[in-house]
Amino acid sequence: MEIRVQREDFVASEEALALTRSRADVGAVVTFVGLCRDEGGKLAALEIEHYPGMAEAEIALVVEEARQRWPLLGLRVIHRYGRLAPGDQIVMVATASSHRGAAFAAAEFLMDYMKTRAPFWKRARGVDGAVQGWVEAKDADDASAARWRAP
């Protein structure tokens, strides 16, 4: 399955390997893994809420756009929800193509677009147990997504 939204952890390398198994036309595989940072020791956990159904649908739209833009031979997107501790994996994308330029560009595009379009929200919990509040969307993420738009 190309797209998964799940509570469970994943093994990024198995997802990436699946893209090249029993084929020899893939020349480049790019894997991105996003992890929960401890924010200098202040963060105890991230709680990730999502909109079931819409999360999968929005990621599917982003995947479809990536497929139209680049000649991809395979891809995987996994986004977790629930409570995650520092060091835990949050999200991964893996892209396979004949050439490295397409694989790199598509992986970065998928991450940029997913961050601004897919309905997930992060709440930070501090090491003192207190809720630190909802993570605010960053203008930098909108800017990252905007650069893929035609001028």
């Binding site: 996003g34 990730i48 809420e49 999502h50 909109y51 159904g53 819409m54 999360a55 649908a57 929005e58 986004h79 949050i90 999200v91 991450m111 997913m114 961050k115 601004t116 379009r117 897919a118 309905p119 997930f120 929200w121 992060k122 709440r123 909802w134 993570v135 605010e136 969307a137 993420d141």
Partner: protein
């Protein structure tokens, strides 16, 4: 129609989902935000800054001027912070 709320929109309103039955003059998403905001302080607080509210109709992003038309599910939430 069904309304669903996420993240701090859900917390401020105090529920994750509900059935709503707006009157005929509530045509757009923006109209619905105004109508809900007049219900009580929680809704008013959730919708106090329209810039930070995102909406979806039947699980697709829409702008405030989108018509509710025959939508079965409307969702309100803050800007996304996944990834």
């Amino acid at each position: 129609m069904k309304a669903v709320y996420f993240a701090w929109v859900r917390e401020r309103i105090g529920k994750a989902e509900e059935e709503i039955d707006p009157p005929a003059e509530v045509v757009t998403v923006a109209d619905l935000i105004g109508w809900l905001s007049r219900r009580d302080e929680g809704y008013a607080h959730a919708f106090e800054n329209p810039r930070t509210i995102r909406a979806a109709l039947d699980r697709a992003h829409v702008k405030p001027d989108a018509a509710l038309a025959g939508a079965r599910e409307v969702a309100f939430f803050p800007p996304m912070t996944g990834g």
